[in-house]
């Protein structure tokens, strides 16, 4: 219980937990909607999902400042590609949080004449750009890792010349694909924070892709993606060493 208390004392921990609950409800609703006598349960899940979703807005208020600070930090990253990607991604996050705050102001009724649809689309668009740039950065880091592992392997093979049976020409393509996948698997396994970050961004991008109409999926896939990314978020909050460092 002590770990649970320490976890929930952090805003991000609590927020990720509620996010996991929200997307679990979405997933369960999708699975139970087709069943005949489950309307009451589906309705309760929908109510829970909407209360948790509207309650989570209180966790996001003021996150504009967090995003501005993250932008300032990402400007100081040493490597060029991550620096560019992260800075633009964080700038997009700033705009996303501004749109989100405006939507909050509308939802509590402080200002009535705000075009909800327009601002929602804006928020989704900038969230999408920020996730896209994060994925580009992840791909770059993965490629660096793969290059490093390939170089190490080449060095090892040079120092210990082996006599292995040469592959037959017809299998060259599959062999290339196999070795590529093996390299990818090895580099992600060696660097768990990178794996977690990539999974999180890929799962997260499903929602804005659906909202912007670029890739329409169903609420089941979005729910599953959201649940997975929330679990990854909870792991990075509970174990800060699993968070991908920007250096």
């Amino acid at each position: 219980m002590d770990t649970f208390t320490r976890f929930t004392n952090q805003t991000q921990g609590r927020d990720r937990l509620f996010r996991a609950i929200q997307y679990t409800c979405m997933l369960l609703r999708y699975l139970l909607e087709s069943k005949a006598d489950r309307e009451k349960v589906v309705m309760k899940l929908k109510k829970l999902e909407s209360s948790v979703s509207s309650g989570r807005k209180w966790f996001r208020l003021g996150n504009v400042v967090h995003a501005v600070q993250a932008t300032q930090q990402s400007i100081r990253v040493s490597d060029l590609v991550p620096r560019l990607c992260l800075t633009i991604a964080n700038l997009n996050r700033v705009i996303y949080f501004v749109c989100d705050t405006i939507l909050w102001v509308r939802s509590v009724g402080l200002v009535a004449d705000i075009n909800k649809e327009k601002w929602r689309k804006w928020a989704a668009r900038h969230y999408y750009y920020s996730l896209l740039l994060n994925i580009i950065r992840d791909v770059y880091e993965v490629s660096l890792q793969m290059e490093q592992i390939a170089q190490e392997k080449a060095k090892r093979e040079k120092s210990m010349p082996q006599n292995h049976l040469g592959p037959c020409i017809a299998d060259e393509e599959t062999e290339w694909l196999q070795s590529f996948l093996l390299l990818l698997f090895r580099s992600l396994r060696k660097h768990p924070p990178l794996l977690l970050d990539t999974v999180k961004n890929l799962c997260d991008i499903l929602n804005p892709l659906d909202q912007l109409g670029i890739y329409k999926s169903n609420s089941g896939i979005i729910g599953l993606g959201g649940l997975l990314s929330s679990i990854v978020g909870m792991i990075t909050v509970a174990y800060p060493q699993m968070r991908l460092r920007t250096c």
Partner: protein, 259 residues
């Protein structure tokens, strides 16, 4: 900017900010009503207050576990009175949060059969008990500190000739048994006690903050349970003051009363 990031990273800090905003809205609504502002504005403020209240209930989900954890830690305290007061206070808080969770479930539509009035009364009752325990603990700490302070004062006065108090007063402070029970003597004793209390509280800011916070908080359940109707203005003001004080203890951890 860095301090806001660090502050808002604690979920309790956000909840306290929402609480301050909620009671500010309540106070503002009462002021607007008194001065005859437009019903549209009053409705907006009431709506915002409602949103804040519901949002806070969600933010507080899971606080029962926190309160139970604190009660478990308090059981190991050495002083008997402190152990009793703090443990019972945390247990009552845990029950208050549990009732609050039930109210949230009712408001969110998950458990529509929940009797909002009954559970609200229950939750305020537990909150009141917890505040009474907190104030008892504060009174006990004050009593200990006053005894400590008066004995050190007495030792200093016995040692040196004048001291901060006058000669006659010094005898009264050091001595103990009263020459008769005359009114001026009692008034003098009372004045001394008040001075001692002020000195103790001034020397221990965490204790002073805790006393003021608990006293302000006390008006809220007293009003909601109908024991002492003070009106929404007083409730709003007290709630706002106590929220600001608890935000202060979060910003400056040395101002928090230990344990």
């Amino acid at each position: 900017m860095d301090s806001w990031v660090r502050f808002s990273a604690q979920s309790q800090a956000r909840e306290r900010l929402c609480r301050a905003a909620q009671y500010a809205c309540s106070l503002l609504g009462h002021a607007l009503q008194k001065h005859g502002a437009s019903p549209e504005l009053q409705k907006q403020i009431r709506q915002l207050e409602g949103h804040l209240s519901l949002g806070r209930k969600l933010l507080r989900l899971g606080n029962s576990a926190d309160a139970l954890e604190s009660a478990k830690r308090a059981v190991h305290l050495s002083d008997v009175v402190l152990r009793f007061c703090i443990t019972v206070s945390h247990l009552n808080r845990a029950l208050y949060f549990a009732c609050d969770n039930v109210l949230w479930a009712g408001k969110a539509g998950l458990a529509p059969f929940v009797d909002q009035e009954k559970w609200a009364q229950r939750s305020f009752r537990y909150y009141l008990f917890s505040l009474i325990m907190n104030l008892s603990r504060d009174a006990y700490e004050i009593r200990l500190l006053m005894e400590q302070e008066s004995s050190t004062c007495g030792r200093r006065l016995k040692g040196s000739a004048g001291g901060t108090l006058g000669g006659g007063e010094a005898e009264v402070a050091v001595g103990g048994s009263a020459p008769g029970g005359s009114l001026p003597y009692l008034a003098l004793q009372l004045r001394l006690q008040v001075l001692l209390l002020a000195r103790v509280l001034r020397g221990h800011p965490p204790l002073l903050l805790d006393v003021v916070r608990n006293t302000c908080d006390l008006f809220i359940p007293l009003d909601k349970l109908g024991l002492w109707r003070c009106g929404p203005g007083v409730v709003g003001l007290c709630g706002l003051v106590s929220s600001i004080l608890s935000i202060l203890t979060l910003l400056c951890p040395w101002l928090r009363l230990k344990p």
